[in-house]
């Protein structure tokens, strides 16, 4: 059910242009600041993205994915948006001392250099609030991810049963 390699490559090619542009921009910025030029926007890659089918439209949807950072600097996911929903929020579910699972909004999800951030059930996730249509298995949605350093990345996310 996960995205095939060829699909992933196609998405990668689609974003190569944006990534290249971002690298140029970051390089230009780096030239006039003390920031490390290694914080390349092109160093981020989104993998294994999927959305859970929603239960109608009154309840939030959830999107999960991995952000791989092959670049040399730490980055962070700081926001998301999607034409499929009014609002997209970053949330984290964590287990408290009493064993209760609690969910709260977070302002950033760190993406360490040479490593990856994993958004998965029971952990970090993107909540889609105010769905414009139910998320149904077999359909896809677009979601744009905003980062602290890298340029925004838009990915096509399949809806599948979790």
């Amino acid at each position: 059910m996960f995205r095939t390699r060829s699909q992933r490559t196609a998405v990668g090619i689609r974003h190569a242009g944006a990534a290249a542009l971002a690298i140029v921009l970051v390089t230009l910025l780096a030239a006039c600041s003390s920031a490390s030029p290694s914080a390349a926007a092109g160093g981020l890659e989104i993998k294994e993205a999927w959305a859970r089918p929603s239960m109608g439209m009154d309840r939030a949807g959830a999107v999960y994915l991995e952000i791989h950072n092959e670049g040399g600097g730490e980055d962070a996911l700081i926001g998301a948006s999607s034409p499929a929903a009014e609002t997209a929020e970053l949330h984290e579910t964590s287990e408290g001392a009493s064993g209760m699972m609690a969910m709260k909004p977070v302002s950033r999800i760190p993406v360490p250099a040479g490593d990856h951030a994993k958004l998965e059930p029971g952990g970090f996730h993107i909540m889609l609030i105010g769905l414009k249509a139910p998320l149904e298995v077999g359909s896809t949605i677009e979601i744009t991810l905003r980062f602290e350093k890298a340029a925004p990345i838009t990915v096509t996310v399949p809806v599948k049963a979790g």
């Binding site: 109608g56 309840r59 209760m100 969910m103 909540m127």
Partner: protein, 225 residues
């Protein structure tokens, strides 16, 4: 339902108190895996599970109950607004889960596992979702939610006090969390799945993240042939 936001400090204090209590009693689930039980009478399923798994270590992620322990009561109201009793499902194994319908992450993940168990069991299995959010989860809201789930599901709600009583009996804890989210408040809750056998006995419970095969294996083990 109390509409007053629970102060964060209070939640933290409660959580701390509960954690301290569990540690003092020597019956926290995590301790149970590697610590010897201190014994003594216990009433909560969690405590019963702890002593059971300590006497014969259970595989990671699963906690057996003493075979004779009857499941605590669930005297609540179903999605049609009718009074419900767990005994009405006698003869069928039941998976019990406490959650809420506005829960976008943990509960749907657990429901996904329950769906797999129901689909693969080869015998009739029922699943009960007990809401910990009666303010939003009225019988009508549960009924609308259940449209998206297999017919094996039953949704239970009730007065806030009735739900708290049931949760206490099952060893379930929950608390309202007010956040800045556009989705409104959230409910923090323990997210175990409980397995009740066809004779109404509580046989095992599973922490969040347990996959369907582990539950299916127990279901087969606890179902007379």
């Amino acid at each position: 339902m109390n509409r007053t936001p629970i102060p964060l400090k209070l939640v933290a204090a409660l959580a701390l108190g509960l954690a301290a209590g569990l540690l003092t009693a020597g019956c926290s689930l995590r301790q149970a895996a590697d610590a010897a039980p201190t014994g003594g009478p216990t009433s909560s399923p969690a405590a019963a599970a702890a002593s059971a798994s300590a006497s014969s270590p259970a595989p990671a992620g699963r906690f057996d109950y003493p075979a004779a322990a009857p499941a605590p009561r669930l005297d609540l109201v179903d999605q049609d607004g009718r009074p419900f009793e767990l005994a009405s499902l006698s003869g069928t194994p039941v998976l019990v889960y406490f959650g809420y319908t506005h829960c976008p992450d943990v509960c749907p993940a657990t429901v996904g596992v329950l769906n797999q168990v129901i689909g693969r069991a080869g015998i009739p299995v029922r699943a009960i979702i007990v809401t910990v959010d009666p303010e939003r989860d009225t019988p009508a809201a549960l009924k609308e939610y259940l449209v998206y789930l297999p017919p094996a599901y039953i949704g239970l709600t009730g007065a806030a006090t009735a739900i708290r009583t049931a949760a206490d009996a099952w060893g379930v804890t929950y608390a309202r969390i007010d956040t800045s989210s556009a989705s409104g408040y959230a409910m923090a809750h323990t997210a175990e799945v409980y397995l009740v056998d066809a004779a109404g006995r509580l046989r095992a419970h599973y922490p969040f993240g347990t996959e369907a095969p582990a539950i299916l294996a127990d279901l087969a083990r606890f179902t007379p042939r």
